[in-house]
Symmetry: C2
Subunit: 176 residues, 2 copies
């Protein structure tokens, strides 16, 4: 179960990175129907995943093996938490992820750097019917304008399709 | 400011690791006055820090440079959040940290493994007057028994003293 989770997380991040790379910053936002998740830092923290240097935002940084340069943190609002528990996501559910720089020291220790981006998936069955009821957004550091147009959001969805039986959500929540 | 935060985080973790190493699992708990932070996963997530292989719990794992084998997540309950905003911590404030295995793949990607430990600092001005009003606890995976006796808690406090002006707390909260 844990291995499946890690595999799914890696797959989701890999597709996200590919999508982000394919759609440069200059792309026009898609009418801002997916909005910035204000207050997500106070939502429930789900899990983290470290990010390799293959991500475009880190291309100018030195690669010190194993070349980890960032970290994703995932958060869920209360409707999304209910969905994570039941498998059914009501309209209004939002899962947010933020990617920060991860600075590793020579001895393998390390901590957070600045925020590189925030991304979301927002449940609205009617508005986002073409993508499983989820709208997808990406917000570069310092911006609340969604950089993903409908084509990019469709690319997000094409990855999430493999999780149809889990409401198209990769994240899981462990009580511990 | 960010650099100070990272430096303090590294210092706090370093002292925690030394303390944990000096006090093996067989040490008698200190009358369990510091209790396990039930429900901390639903508290506000503060930040993360990756952990080097120098930590005893990882001594049997292979060290692949830069030898990062774990990750700390820090959480604050609502009284602690008020303290983080104001600098004054009321009795009942609790900051919890958990350390999970961090599994890095060959390409620098990675995700969480199992939980290795949970640790806390609990504010009770009267009960823990000898350590700045904070009681310290460490709970190994699968246990709710504090492994830190009064001597070990004093060692925790000796590190936290440098943060007297911040209520003895290393953690900070970034809204982002």
């Amino acid at each position: 179960m844990r291995l499946n989770f890690l595999a799914f997380s890696s797959l989701a991040i890999a597709v996200f990175l590919v999508t982000a790379t394919l759609h440069p910053r200059s792309m026009r936002a898609d009418e801002a129907t997916v909005s910035y998740p204000d207050g997500y830092r106070a939502w429930t923290f789900l899990h983290g995943s470290v990010v390799p240097s293959g991500f475009g935002g880190f291309s100018k940084l030195p690669c010190v093996k194993p070349c980890t340069n960032g970290i994703f943190y995932f958060y869920a609002n209360e409707p999304a938490m209910q969905g994570l528990r039941t498998g059914a996501y009501a309209d209004g559910a939002v899962i947010a992820e933020e990617m920060l720089e991860l600075k590793l020291g020579e001895k393998g220790n390390g901590g957070e750097g600045h925020r590189v981006l925030t991304a979301v998936m927002v449940k609205d069955s009617r508005r986002y019917a073409a993508t499983g009821g989820w709208g997808f957004g990406n917000f570069d550091e310092g911006s609340k304008a969604n950089t993903l147009d409908s084509k990019a959001q469709q690319a997000c969805f094409q990855c999430h399709i493999v999780r149809k039986d889990q409401g198209y959500v990769f994240s899981q929540y462990a009580e511990r």
